[in-house]
């Protein structure tokens, strides 16, 4: 976090950050589902797409929930036992972004059921990450790599 610290060869993060972000994502997507069909519901899906998009395309340091964690939560916690590679949670942001883009396209196209399914799957993934430390994007990674190079 300090500016004068030597830059690590690979970016590392506090592992509690992505879990905190997953908890906020869980709440946002649950409310988005409850308000599905309303303007607020669509705005929440769009907001979550922006949040995932910043984390996936710019980097975790630009992810809004990560910024909240670093500014407001982390200063109140003791230092983590070990830092973790930033690549897995960033890949998870990409997976989340894909679900949100599918949901938004479906909403625009008037396919409400498709949007509900996409948001529901993303909600399940975010909840599993927050509650059980289960990273769906990470688990999918090797299966995806096997298929891609087959």
């Amino acid at each position: 976090m300090t500016a004068d610290a030597p830059a690590p060869s690979r970016p590392v993060i506090d592992p509690r950050g992505p879990r905190f972000g997953a908890a906020i994502t869980t709440v946002v997507l649950a409310v988005a589902l409850l308000l599905s069909g309303t303007v607020v519901g669509t705005v929440l899906v769009a907001w979550q797409a922006i949040a995932f998009g910043l984390g996936a395309l710019v980097g975790l340091q630009a992810q809004p929930y990560g910024i909240v964690f670093r500014r407001l939560v982390r200063p109140r916690l003791s230092p983590p036992r070990e830092m973790e590679d930033a690549a897995p949670p960033r890949f998870a942001q990409v997976v989340g972004l894909i679900f949100m883009v599918v949901a938004l396209i479906a909403l625009v196209a008037g396919l409400g059921i498709v949007a509900t399914i996409a948001v529901a799957l993303a909600l399940a993934a975010a909840f599993l990450n927050a509650a059980f430390n289960f990273c769906l994007g990470c688990e999918m990674y090797l299966v995806w790599a096997r298929l891609r190079h087959s």
């Binding site: 649950a30 909840f127 059980f132 289960f134 090797l142």
Partner: protein
């Protein structure tokens, strides 16, 4: 409202899955399907059984088998528990001499990953001294389970160490 039931249903299903995952993740189990079971007096299972899986693994481990047992860990960059698993296995190898730890990058060895049907990282294989896969775990195993698994596959039964 219909949507409240969607939210309740999703969270209930995810909770059930999460509890199941917590129970099975990293559990060490016998791997009967991968290699024919070898009896205690019939060690050269890896030589006798020449399935493609066994051959692929034997080729990858040439010269790297441990004296008494080998732990093969498949890892990838996109794997948070791989680092903790490496530490656990290395600690077990310190306690129990004659066991080697071989870490294989899953993404760079996709042929082998396919041959062994490995779907997750970390996946940990426990090989006896002949190189036959006797036990395996997918997900981060507990240290006590790693030591117990080694105790079962080491030649001569229970090893002489204290936890």
């Amino acid at each position: 409202m219909n949507s409240i039931w969607v939210v309740v249903g999703v969270l209930a299903l995810a909770t059930a899955f999460g509890l199941w995952f917590r129970r099975v993740n990293g559990r060490v189990r016998d791997s009967g399907a991968m290699v024919p079971m070898a009896g205690p007096d019939d060690p050269p299972a890896a030589i006798q059984s020449s399935s493609p899986q066994t051959l692929a693994l034997a080729e990858a481990l040439t010269g790297r088998l441990g004296e008494r047992a080998t732990i093969v860990q498949f890892s990838s960059a996109f794997c948070q528990p791989c680092r903790a698993t490496r530490r656990i296995v290395e600690e077990a190898c310190v306690i129990i001499p004659g066991v080697s730890h071989v870490e294989i990058d899953a993404e760079e060895n996709l042929e082998l990953v396919r041959a062994l049907d490995i779907r997750r990282t970390p996946t940990v294989l426990f090989l006896d001294r002949t190189g036959a896969v006797r036990k395996q775990a997918s997900g981060q195993p507990r240290k006590a389970d790693v030591i117990a698994a080694l105790g079962e596959i080491l030649p001569g039964g229970t090893p002489d160490f204290e936890i």
